[in-house]
């Protein structure tokens, strides 16, 4: 009986926070081969850390470039286009705005989304990163969502839970979370 209890505890501990697969959607009929150039819009930041949105946006640009599939527009140019179009919040962008922005930036798709969790959790004497992001790609000509993914990363594994060490830095956790989310698109 005791052995069963020990195994049950160990199994519970062995489930790290970030091991779940990303929930995702890929448009069944969209021709992704037309997408050669993309723009990454500022992410909606739902966390307490005011700078986290921009940090994750930069990491997303890096991961898109690293994928080597599409060209990514310099974020400064994207910001300028948003200012010129008088768009204050990315949550208010409509299909017509996407069309205009797409034409001015010369991109076929936009990446945008939200940062839901970006924090360090204290557990067992250790501190571990936790990142949850929701990303989507929108076709510039129609404003249609052609891909979306939500993924949580970081967290703590069995070693961290038991001994209070291990785990990634915030940057590493962010990078891995974005990479896992993008893998559902570029696999």
């Amino acid at each position: 009986m005791n052995a069963i209890r020990i195994w049950a505890v160990l199994l519970t501990l062995a489930v790290p926070a970030g091991c779940a697969k990303p929930q995702h959607f890929v448009h069944a009929t969209y021709d992704f081969s037309v997408v050669k150039k993309v723009a990454v819009l500022p992410l909606e930041n739902l966390t307490q850390d005011q700078l986290a949105g921009e940090r994750v946006r930069k990491a997303l640009v890096a991961e898109l470039l690293a994928a080597g599939v599409v060209e990514v527009i310099e974020p400064g140019q994207v910001n300028r286009a948003l200012n010129q179009a008088n768009i204050q919040s990315v949550t208010s962008i409509g299909a017509e705005d996407f069309k205009k922005l797409g034409a001015s930036l010369g991109v076929q798709a936009f990446f945008l989304g939200s940062l839901d969790v970006y924090d360090r959790i204290n557990l067992g004497g250790g501190s571990f990163p936790e990142v949850t992001i929701s990303l989507r790609a929108v076709d510039a000509s129609t404003g249609t969502i052609v891909w979306s993914a939500t993924h949580s990363g970081g967290g703590v594994g069995i070693v961290g839970r038991l001994f209070g060490f291990g785990g990634d830095s915030m940057s590493e956790a962010t990078q891995k979370t974005i990479r896992a989310a993008l893998a559902t698109l570029f696999h």
């Binding site: 921009e54 930069k58 640009v61 890096a62 470039l65 690293a66 310099e74 910001n79 590493e172």
Partner: protein, 366 residues
């Protein structure tokens, strides 16, 4: 007889040339050995830092045979031209410095950190020597030390005095500054074999970097997304040092970049739009620009008790100045303990060497 006459004519011409040029030679040599040491910009947050470090820098530069511009005349010059940001110099100000003070070189720099804790003080400096005539960066270096860096065992050897540690940091900073009259060269670091095999890889590297590599590069202000005030400026300075020592590109002095941006009326901060990039390209004639972000910057200081290891996370990307395309992107997360071999050996305890290492490793992927 005609041969004698032509010989006399030749000798006369040579003599005339010597008479004309003779006064200019010592003047040129004197100018090359004379240096204006500008007050280092203080990003450390400690009011004492510059007061402690400038006399030490002055003495160390004089010991290398340089003739320093008179501090009174330099102060008057800075006041006349309203130069407040003395950590960088524009081409216009460098030319005026040469014209009015007769110097051939100018040394600019910044104090990145001065933590005057008796337990474990820490200093961090970066410096550049600029040619007054061309504005070129001739030499650049960064150095940082903590009191713990001198500990042998059981706390023996630890430097606990801030001013004493400043002497050692200045010595480390100017270690490879050539003596006056000798060519200012920076030893090329080269990419270690292990780093080539196991080092970090760029997130993205465009094939155009092989076919059409940039020659002249400018570093733009880094965006600071860390909690440390001024970290963007510190990393920008240290990144410029790393790039200069990388030796692959001709680097535009940040003062010339600032001057151009003021003229354009733009203040890019971690990002740049194509219009500003095109205007910048025209003014400072660059083939590419480097932008970056400081994501984490922790000097490893604790308010009380022992210090922890410093940490830095930065990213950098290169944009083709003509097309605005991102041609390179790399990121580095580095902790002082990452290079530890055994016990405390190999650990990087000071912030500036850590940032310099992170910047150099990022640049190795370029």
């Amino acid at each position: 007889m005609p041969r004698m006459r032509s010989f006399a004519r030749l000798a006369g011409t040579l003599l005339a040339v010597l008479v004309v040029l003779a006064p200019a030679w010592p003047a040129a040599a004197q100018e090359a050995a004379s240096l204006a040491l500008l007050p280092f910009e203080n990003v450390s947050g400690s009011l004492e830092a510059v007061r402690i470090v400038m006399p030490l820098l002055g003495q160390a530069v004089r010991d290398r045979g340089y003739r320093l511009a008179d501090p009174g005349r330099l102060d008057a010059f800075l006041a006349r031209y309203r130069i407040r940001n003395t950590g960088r110099l524009s081409r216009t100000h460098l030319a005026a410095l040469r014209r009015e003070l007769g110097v051939g070189l100018a040394m600019v720099g910044s104090v990145a950190i001065f933590n005057d804790s008796a337990g474990n003080p820490q200093w961090g400096l970066s410096a550049r020597v600029l040619a007054a005539d061309s504005g070129a960066i001739l030499w650049a270096a960064g150095a940082g030390l903590t009191g713990d860096d001198f500990t042998i065992a059981l706390g023996l050897g630890t430097i606990t005095s801030g001013p004493r540690l400043a002497e050692e940091t200045v010595k480390a900073l100017l270690r490879d500054l050539a003596r006056a009259g000798e060519p200012l060269v920076m030893p090329s670091r080269g990419r270690p074999v292990l780093s080539r095999l196991f080092g970090i890889k760029a997130s993205y590297r465009s094939p155009t970097l092989e076919s059409d590599p940039p020659r002249r590069v400018a570093v733009l202000p880094f965006e600071n997304l860390s909690e440390r005030k001024g970290a963007g400026r510190i990393v920008e300075d240290i990144f410029t040092v790393a790039l200069a020592r990388h030796g692959r590109f001709e680097i535009v002095e940040p003062g010339a970049v600032s001057e151009a941006l003021v003229a354009i009326g733009a203040a890019p901060y971690g990002n740049i739009d194509l219009e500003t990039l095109a205007a910048l390209r025209q003014r400072v004639e660059v083939d590419a620009v480097i932008l970056g972000t400081v994501l984490n910057y922790s000097e490893g200081l604790k308010r009380a008790g022992a210090a922890t290891s410093p940490e830095v996370t930065l990213d950098a990307r290169m944009l083709d100045a003509e097309t605005g395309r991102i041609v390179w992107f790399a990121e580095r997360v580095l902790n002082g303990d990452d290079s530890r071999i055994a016990m405390h050996f190999g650990t990087i305890k000071a912030m500036v060497p850590l940032v310099l290492k992170a910047a150099s490793e990022v640049l190795d992927t370029l």
